[in-house]
C-alpha cells in the first residue's frame, strides 16, 4: 500500500494538516502536498478509469505529464473537470471526484470494454459505424458521444474573475529549475530585463531530488542562494505557479498564472493570462521520463521511477512497501537507493542493459544490498486494481517467465525526453540524439523573429543536457547569449561547477521484452489517457498509416492533454519499427500550444458580460430606457425595438407604433445611422465610383438615394447622400455599415486613387438625428421654426439648415416609411433637448416614439429594401429591381465590371417580389419557396426564399418580400411556402410595394 513516511517531505509543513474530500470520502493531507501526494498518502492509488476500456488507472507521474489522475474539482460555480491531481495544490476543504466510471470508481460497468479490447482496436469507430448511413446521425453518434469524453462540463456560471496582464521584456525564461534560475541569473547580470516563470509553486525543479552538489554545496542550498540573488535583482521578475503555455510569432508568449487555484475565493483573479513579448525566450523546461512498454504497465502501482522518487523526497510518501525498479538507464537507480535509504524494500532492479562494468550508481545500489539483474525485463505485471507482483524474463527473448516477484509498486524508467514543446510551437526544428535516444532542439534551426534571427534558446535538460554539470554550463551560457542578443553585455559571474556521479550510457528499449508477442503488445500501453497500445500503433502501420500525423489521428496516440508528453517517443519508436525505418525518418507529430490545458476563462479575461464589448448609446438612450424600450442590439449600438407601455406585449406595441405614425405622428431615434463626410475637389468623382448611380450631378441642397457595391458586384450598403456644397457630400450609411463603409472608402482612396483630392471623416457620433414622421410632421416642424418649411420651400429629397427651438438644425426631407417625413440633425449634445422638444410639441397630435420593428414594417409596406434582409452578400442591385439606381451613363463604378459577368447576368437569378399569404397569415422568416421534385440529395427543390416578413397593421394581413425565380414575370401566381415541421402556406406573388404605390403620402 502507499502511505505517508515518518520522515521526509521537503515541501511539507507537517504542522498544518488539511482536510479534503475524494468521492465524498474525508481524507487528510499537509500544507505543501499536491492532491496526488495526499491521495497516495491515504492509500488512494486508484484514481480514475481509462478513456476507452475503462481500465482502473492510478497515478503514473508527479507533474504536468500525468495522464490518468484527472478529477472533477470543486462544486457549483467553481466546478472544473479534468484537473490534474499532480499539479493541484492541496488546500483545506478541497472537494474532488474521479471521472469516467459508472456506477462507481471501484465497480465500473464500462470496464466490460477491456474484455472486448480485442474488438476495439485502432480505427474501430471509423470501420464499424459507417453503415448504414442514416444510422450515424441517429444511433451511432449519440451513443458514442455519451460514452466519450472524460469529465463533465460545468453547469453553473463561473463565479471567479480572470485577467490579462501584458509584459514586455528582453528575456523570458520559461522554467524555474536550476537551468532556468541560472539562465535568468546570467541574463540578469548582463543587464537585460528578465521575466522568469515556473509552473509549480517551488523553485529548483527536480535537481534537489536527484542530488549532487554545485560549487561544493548541496543542490537545494545552491537553489536557495540563486533564488535569493534573483529576487534582489531589480531587472528580474519572478513568477511561480505560472506556466509557459505557448510560444508564438516574433517573440510572443503566453504565461498562465494560477493565482488562486490553491486558495479559492481569495480576493483578486483566479487565473492571470500573461501576454508576453520578449526579445529572446529561453526554454528551460526540463525533461520528462518515459515509461517502458511492457504488458500490464498501466496497472495502478506502476509509476515512473522519477515520480516514485519525487513522492518520497518532496512529499514523504511511499508509493509501495516493495518496489521493483525496471530501467534501461542509471537514473532509476537513484529511486532504488532513496527507497532503500527510507527503509523500504526494493526486491530487485531489472536493468534491460548488459554492461561490461558497474557504474557508480549501480555500485552504490549493490552496496546497499539491492539485487540487480542485468539484461532482464518484466514479462508482465500481475494485479488488477493494484500491482501484486511482476514476472521476470530476459529482455532478449519473448518473455518466458524466469521468476515471479511479489511487490506492490513498479518504478519504471525508459530514459528521458527533453521537453521541446515550447521550442517547437513556433517552428523550431528537432534533431535525433542517438546516444540519449531522444529528440532535442536543433539549435541551428530555431524559430525566427521579425529580424530573421532565432529568438528561442533552449537551456539545460530541455536542450538535451541531462547531467547536472552539463545543465549548469548550458544554462549559464544561454542566459548570457540571450542578453547579448538584446544588447546587454555586462560581465557575469562564472558558470558554477557541479559534482555528480558518472553514469553509464542508457540503451533504448522500446518493447519489453524485445520479442514480445501479440498478447503482450496488446497489454502494453503507450498512451494511458487515450488507451493506445503497442498493438494499435502496429495495426495502424500495417493498415498503411505511414505518416506519423496520420497514425496519431487513427490511433489517437498523444492526443488530448498528453500532447506527446509521455507517449510520443515510445509511439514513434514502435511506428518506426513497424515501418522498418529509423526514428528520425518517422519524425514527430506537431507540438501545439498550450503546453498543458489553460482555462477558457483566462483566455476571455475580463471580456465578459458588460465588458465583453463596448456599448454605444445615443444621446436619447436614457429616455428610451425610462420609457419601456425593448432593446435590440445593432452592431455595438442598442436601439429600441419598440417601447412597451405597462402590460403591453411586444407585438401590440409594434402595431400601435406603426398605426400612430401612419395616422398622425411618429418619432424615431435615427442617430445610429452612419454619417460620412466626403470632401474635396474630387469628391463627386469619387462618389461616382463608389455608388452605382451618379452623385456628381446632385445639386447642393438636394438628396439622392444611392447603392454601394463591392468590386465583386454585390450590394453592400445603401443610404441617402446629401450634397452640402460643391466640394462636400454627406453620405448616410446603414447603422452597421458606418465603420466598414468608412474603411471601404479609405481603402480605395489610399490604395487605388491616392492622387484624388478627397477626404473622408466619420461624423456618425457628432450628430443626433431624429425622424419626425407622419401626416402631422410639417405642422409640428413649422411650429418650432421661423423658417419656411412648406412643400415648395423644402420639397421631397431636399435639405436645409434652420434654427429650431434655438438649436442649429439640418433638416433632410427624406422618407423610409412612405410618410411625410423629416430627419432632423443637431449636435449630439443637443439631441436629448430636441427629442424632448419634439415630444412636447407633438403631444397635441399624440406623438408616438417608435422603434426599429415599426421602422422595418413601414419600409416593407413600401417595398423598400433593407441591407442584411434583402441582401446577404450574394445579391446584386439588379436582383432587387433597383436598375433605376444604376447609372448607364457612367463608364465605371465599383462592381460594374463584376455585374457583367455571366453568372450575374443570368436570367435565372432569383428576383425581388412581394408575397401576400392567401389566408392573411404571416410567413416564417427565411422560409424557402418550394418547387417540384427533389435534388440529388433527396431534398425538396426550391425556387426562391423569403427575405422579409411581417404582419402589416396598415393592411391587416401578412406581407413579405422574397427573391423568386422569374418572380417579376409571375405576378398573381400562387406559390407554396413550407414551414419547419411540414405545414405549407400558400402565397400570391405581388408587387413588392404594398402601400401607397404612387407615393401620395410622402409627396405632400
Amino acid at each position: 500500500m502507499s502511505t505517508r513516511l515518518a520522515n521526509g517531505g521537503r515541501f511539507l509543513d507537517r504542522a498544518r494538516a488539511l482536510e479534503f474530500r475524494f468521492n465524498g470520502k474525508r481524507l487528510t493531507g499537509y500544507e505543501g502536498d499536491t492532491l496526488a501526494s495526499a491521495l497516495l498518502a491515504n492509500d488512494q492509488m486508484l484514481v480514475g478509469r481509462s478513456f476507452k476500456y475503462h481500465r482502473p488507472r492510478g497515478i503514473v507521474a508527479s507533474g504536468a505529464e500525468e495522464p490518468n489522475a484527472l478529477v472533477g474539482m470543486g462544486e457549483g460555480g467553481r466546478f472544473e473537470p479534468n484537473q490534474r491531481t499532480t499539479t493541484t495544490e492541496l488546500f483545506d476543504g478541497l472537494t474532488c471526484a474521479s471521472q469516467n466510471h459508472w456506477p462507481s470508481l471501484d465497480f465500473d460497468v464500462g470496464a466490460i470494454n477491456t474484455k472486448l479490447g480485442r474488438f476495439l482496436p485502432a480505427g474501430f469507430y471509423y470501420k464499424m459505424f459507417i453503415h448504414p448511413r442514416p444510422f450515424w446521425k441517429h444511433v451511432y453518434e449519440p451513443f458514442i458521444r455519451k460514452s466519450a469524453g472524460l469529465g463533465k462540463a460545468p453547469t453553473e456560471r463561473d463565479v471567479d474573475t480572470y485577467e490579462h496582464f501584458y509584459a514586455h521584456v528582453d528575456v523570458l525564461v520559461v522554467g524555474g529549475g536550476v537551468a532556468g534560475l541560472l539562465a535568468a541569473r546570467s541574463a540578469g547580470q548582463s543587464g537585460a530585463t528578465v521575466l522568469l516563470i515556473e509552473q509549480t509553486p517551488q523553485w529548483g525543479g527536480r535537481a534537489p531530488v536527484d542530488g549532487g552538489a554545485v560549487d561544493g554545496k548541496p543542490v537545494d542550498k545552491f537553489v536557495e542562494e540563486v533564488t535569493a540573488e534573483l529576487d534582489a535583482m531589480p531587472n528580474v521578475t519572478m513568477r511561480s505557479r505560472t506556466m509557459g503555455a505557448g510560444v508564438y510569432d516574433h517573440g510572443y508568449a503566453l504565461g498562465y498564472e494560477r493565482v488562486a487555484d490553491h486558495r479559492p475565493g481569495a480576493a483578486g483573479p483566479r487565473h492571470r493570462l500573461w501576454r508576453i513579448r520578449a526579445g529572446r525566450i529561453i526554454t528551460a523546461t526540463g525533461a520528462i521520463e518515459r515509461p517502458l512498454s511492457f504488458a500490464g504497465n498501466d496497472i495502478p502501482g506502476v509509476m515512473l521511477a522519477s515520480a516514485v522518487r519525487d513522492f518520497a523526497v518532496n512529499y514523504g510518501v511511499s508509493v509501495g512497501d516493495r518496489t521493483v525498479v525496471v530501467t534501461n538507464n542509471d537514473d532509476a537507480y537513484r529511486t532504488a537507493i532513496i527507497l532503500k535509504e527510507q527503509g523500504l524494500d526494493v526486491p530487485v532492479i531489472l536493468d534491460a542493459r548488459v554492461l561490461p562494468q558497474d557504474s557508480a550508481l549501480m555500485a552504490e545500489a549493490k552496496a546497499l544490498g539491492i539485487r540487480v539483474m542485468m539484461g532482464h525485463a518484466i514479462s508482465s505485471v500481475k494485479g488488477g486494481k493494484r500491482v501484486t507482483g511482476v514476472e521476470i524474463c530476459s529482455q532478449a527473448g519473448e518473455g518466458a517467465v524466469l521468476e515471479t516477484v511479489d511487490c506492490d509498486a513498479v518504478a519504471m524508467s525508459g530514459g528521458w525526453s527533453p521537453v521541446v514543446h515550447l521550442w517547437s510551437h513556433c517552428g523550431g526544428k528537432l534533431t535525433w540524439d542517438e546516444a540519449q535516444a531522444c529528440f532535442r532542439p536543433d539549435v541551428d534551426n530555431p524559430p525566427t523573429g521579425a529580424d530573421g534571427e532565432g529568438f528561442v534558446i533552449p537551456a539545460g535538460a530541455a536542450n538535451g543536457a541531462l547531467r547536472l554539470g552539463d545543465v549548469l554550463a548550458d544554462a549559464h551560457a544561454a542566459g548570457a547569449a540571450a542578453a547579448r542578443a538584446m544588447g546587454a553585455e555586462r560581465k557575469t559571474s562564472d558558470a558554477p561547477q557541479a559534482e555528480a556521479q558518472d553514469e553509464a550510457p542508457m540503451a533504448p528499449v522500446w518493447m519489453m521484452p524485445n520479442g514480445a508477442g501479440y498478447k503482450k503488445r496488446a497489454k502494453a500501453w503507450l498512451d494511458y489517457q487515450n488507451d493506445v497500445k503497442v498493438s494499435d500503433v502496429r495495426l495502424a502501420a500495417q493498415e498503411g498509416y505511414q505518416s506519423v500525423e496520420h497514425a496519431k489521428r487513427y490511433t489517437t496516440l498523444g492526443m488530448a492533454t498528453d500532447q506527446g508528453k509521455l507517449s510520443n517517443i515510445n509511439g514513434l519508436a514502435i511506428l518506426s519499427d513497424a515501418l522498418n525505418q529509423p526514428i528520425p525518418q518517422t519524425g514527430t507529430t506537431t507540438f501545439r500550444p498550450p503546453y498543458t490545458p489553460i482555462s477558457l476563462a483566462s483566455i476571455a479575461g475580463e471580456a465578459r458580460a458588460e465588458r465583453f464589448q463596448p456599448l454605444r448609446r445615443t444621446p436619447m438612450y436614457d429616455w428610451h430606457a425610462e420609457h419601456g424600450a425593448y432593446w435590440e442590439p445593432v452592431g455595438q449600438w442598442r436601439r429600441p425595438y419598440c417601447y412597451r407601455k405597462p402590460g403591453e406585449s411586444i407585438e401590440d406595441a409594434v402595431q400601435r407604433e406603426v398605426k400612430a405614425t401612419r395616422e398622425s405622428l411618429g418619432l424615431l431615434d435615427a442617430s445610429t445611422l452612419g454619417k460620412l463626410m466626403v470632401k474635396g475637389p474630387d469628391a463627386g468623382k469619387f462618389l461616382d465610383m463608389l455608388y452605382t448611380n451618379m452623385m456628381s450631378s446632385l445639386k447642393p441642397g438636394r438628396c439622392r438615394y444611392g447603392l454601394m457595391c463591392n468590386e465583386n458586384g454585390f450590394l453592400i450598403d445603401d443610404g441617402v447622400v446629401a450634397r452640402i456644397d460643391e466640394d462636400t457630400f454627406l453620405c448616410h450609411t446603414t447603422t452597421g455599415g458606418a465603420e466598414s463603409i468608412h474603411g471601404h472608402m479609405e481603402e480605395w482612396l489610399q490604395t487605388e486613387w491616392w492622387d484624388w483630392d478627397v477626404y473622408v471623416a466619420n461624423l456618425t457620433e457628432q450628430y443626433a438625428q431624429i425622424g419626425l414622421v407622419g401626416p402631422k410632421a410639417r405642422e409640428v416642424l413649422a411650429a418650432l421654426t421661423a423658417s419656411d418649411v412648406s412643400a415648395e420651400a423644402l420639397p421631397f429629397m431636399a435639405w436645409t439648415d434652420i434654427t429650431l427651438g434655438g438649436m442649429q438644425a439640418r433638416i433632410y426631407r427624406i422618407s423610409f416609411s412612405g410618410e411625410l417625413s423629416y430627419e432632423i440633425a443637431v449636435k449630439a449634445s443637443e439631441g436629448r433637448a430636441l427629442w424632448d422638444l419634439l415630444l412636447a410639441t407633438g403631444d397635441a397630435h399624440g406623438v408616438t416614439p417608435y422603434g426599429t420593428e415599426a421602422l422595418h414594417i413601414m419600409r416593407a409596406e413600401k417595398g423598400f429594401i433593407m441591407i442584411g434582409d434583402e441582401t446577404d452578400g450574394t445579391v446584386i442591385p439588379q436582383d432587387l429591381g433597383l436598375n433605376w439606381a444604376i447609372s448607364k451613363k457612367k463608364e465605371d463604378y465599383l462592381g460594374k465590371r463584376a455585374q457583367a459577368r455571366s453568372h450575374m447576368t443570368d436570367p435565372n437569378r432569383w428576383k425581388l417580389v412581394g408575397l401576400e399569404t392567401t389566408d392573411g397569415s404571416t410567413l416564417p422568416d427565411g422560409a424557402y419557396i418550394s418547387a417540384e421534385g427533389e435534388n440529388a440529395n433527396g431534398q425538396r427543390n426550391v425556387q426562391g426564399r423569403v427575405t422579409s416578413t411581417y404582419h402589416s397593421p396598415t393592411l391587416g394581413k401578412g406581407i413579405a418580400m422574397a427573391l423568386v425565380l422569374h418572380g417579376p414575370d409571375r405576378m398573381g401566381e400562387v406559390v407554396e411556402v413550407p414551414h419547419i415541421g411540414g405545414k405549407i402556406t400558400k402565397a400570391k406573388i405581388v408587387d413588392p410595394v404594398f402601400f401607397d404605390k404612387d407615393g401620395e403620402k410622402q409627396n405632400v
Binding site: 510569432d249 516574433h250 525566427t448 489610399q750 460594374k896
Partner: protein
C-alpha cells in the same frame, strides 16, 4: 502574432493593431477588361512560400494602409513601405536581396 512597423506613423505594434489586406500591388481591371483578366484580378492571388508582398492597414492606429515585405516561412519582415506605390521601392528590394538573393515575386525581383 507578428510585430509590424507602420511606415506612416512610425509606430511598431502588435499584429492585433493591424489588419491584413492580402496581396499587394494589385492592378485593377474594370469595365472593358477581359473575363480572364478580371477573374484573375478578383480571385487569383499568390500565396508564396517565402518572400511575399502584402497589404496591411494600421486599423487601431493611424488608419493608414501600407505594404509589408515579409517571409511567410521564417516570418522575417524585410521592411514596410507606404501603399501609394505600384512597385516595391529599391531599398525594400535591396533588403530582401540581402537576405534572399535571387528572390522574385510576381514581376518583381
Amino acid at each position: 502574432m507578428l510585430i509590424l512597423t507602420c511606415p506612416c506613423c512610425g509606430v511598431t505594434a502588435e499584429e492585433t493593431e493591424f489588419h491584413g489586406g492580402g496581396e499587394a500591388h494589385l492592378k485593377r481591371f474594370g469595365p472593358g477588361s477581359s473575363d480572364e483578366d478580371f477573374h484573375d484580378y478578383l480571385f487569383s492571388k499568390v500565396n508564396p512560400k517565402g518572400v511575399h508582398l502584402e497589404r496591411w492597414r494600421h486599423n487601431y492606429g493611424c488608419g493608414k494602409w501600407f505594404h509589408a515585405a515579409r517571409d511567410t516561412v521564417t516570418l522575417e519582415v524585410y521592411g514596410t513601405y507606404p501603399a501609394q506605390t505600384t512597385e516595391p521601392p529599391q531599398d525594400i528590394r535591396d533588403a530582401i536581396t540581402a537576405k534572399r538573393p535571387g528572390w522574385s515575386w510576381r514581376e518583381f525581383s
